[in-house]
């Protein structure tokens, strides 16, 4: 993967967003190329399932393409895209829970195997901790995971999350509270012998 394909700052996207809003299809295609890694990353963190994440990415851009004309630019394009991704992924997660057997959960990816090469400045210890954190996130129940990812990883507000998921703000807060608690338990209380607390997140960050 070349550096140019990595996500860029919001200002770099503005001319493309403006052109896409005015109906320039090639500008929208370029937006897809520049943001798909970030969108896929979010989709995969939300669904914890590679195939679903790919479907979510496609559906997200299809919705974005249909809605770009009405995108007012009040928020950053990427934030707007996160919200569409969150909404699409949440629908996907609910559908998967209804239609798929639990056995499929065995296919859940191992983020440690799929991530891009670690940033040079990322220490081995920190890298190991982030791998553990990714695995723990995937172990959260989907409804809690969505909240933790959107709030604590992507920084969306309770209000934005509640709106996209179709839940109340208080429900969003309760789920976030439970999600953080469960994640904390997964990281510290349920650590396996080879993932001793002292060698994991405790000293890495």
């Amino acid at each position: 993967m070349s550096t140019s394909e990595l996500p860029q700052g919001p200002s770099a996207l503005e001319p493309l967003v403006q052109a896409a809003r005015e109906g320039d299809h090639r500008a929208f295609d370029e937006l897809v190329r520049r943001t798909y890694v970030e969108t896929y990353t979010l989709a995969l963190r939300l669904t914890a399932h590679e195939e679903d994440a790919r479907d979510v990415v496609q559906e997200t851009y299809l919705r974005a393409w249909r809605g770009i004309g009405s995108f007012r630019g009040d928020a950053q394009f990427t934030t707007w895209l996160y919200r569409i991704t969150a909404n699409t992924a949440y629908t996907s997660v609910k559908r998967r829970r209804r239609h798929r057997a639990d056995a499929l959960d065995a296919m859940i990816h191992d983020p440690a195997e799929m991530r891009l090469d670690a940033q040079p400045e990322e220490s081995a210890q920190q890298s190991a901790m982030l791998d553990r954190l990714s695995v723990a996130l995937d172990q959260l129940p989907p409804k809690l995971r969505v909240l933790v990812v959107l709030k604590d990883v992507y920084g969306l507000s309770h209000e934005e999350i509640a709106e996209e998921l179709g839940i109340s703000v208080s429900a969003a807060k309760v789920r976030l509270h439970r999600g953080r608690k469960k994640l904390r338990d997964l990281l510290y209380d349920e650590a396996r012998p080879n993932h001793g607390t002292d060698g994991g997140i405790e000293h890495a960050v």
Binding site: M1, L6, P7, H25, F28, D29, V32, R33, Y36, V37, E38, Y40, T41, L44, R45, E50, A53, R54, V57, Q58, Y61, L62, W65, R66, P111, M114, R115, L116, Q119, Q126, M129, L130, L133, S134, L137, V148, K151, D152, V153, Y154, G155, H158, K173, L176, H177, R178, R180, K181, L183, R184, L187, Y188, I201, E202, A204, V205
Partner: protein, 122 residues
């Protein structure tokens, strides 16, 4: 204030989501166990924030598939717009023809009615 009470509050309070009461703060300040617990949550949140820029690579082909899907949807919608335009034109033509036919029928009926009315009047 007990450690268990603090433990219940921490998941929300640590991210700035809830104001911490003075009694809670005083307990944490004097309790090593709760300080350690707070540190764990802070480290966890810091780790989550770092995940934000840790990108995951999709298998090849996703961009091409996505762009193809958008193009296909665009063509489909363009076809639908054209068909919709044609339907409107057909509907307009049929409507116009119906109005014209109705007007012609009215003229004929009025004409016949006048012809019948003339002898009666004479």
């Amino acid at each position: 204030m007990q450690c268990d009470d603090v433990a219940r509050i921490l998941p929300e309070a640590v991210g700035g989501g809830a104001a911490v009461e003075d009694s809670v703060q005083r307990h944490i300040d004097s309790c090593l166990r709760c300080q350690a617990e707070l540190a764990r949550y802070r480290k966890m949140l810091r780790g989550l924030q770092l995940l934000r820029t840790r990108y995951l690579e999709p298998a090849p082909g996703l961009v091409a598939q996505t762009l193809a899907l958008i193009e296909e949807a665009g063509e489909r919608e363009a076809r639908r717009a054209i068909l919709s335009g044609k339907r409107m034109a057909y509907a307009g033509a049929i409507g116009g023809a119906a109005v014209a036919a109705g007007a012609a029928a009215t003229v004929v009926i009025v004409h016949r009615a006048r012809r019948k009315a003339v002898p009666a009047a004479g």
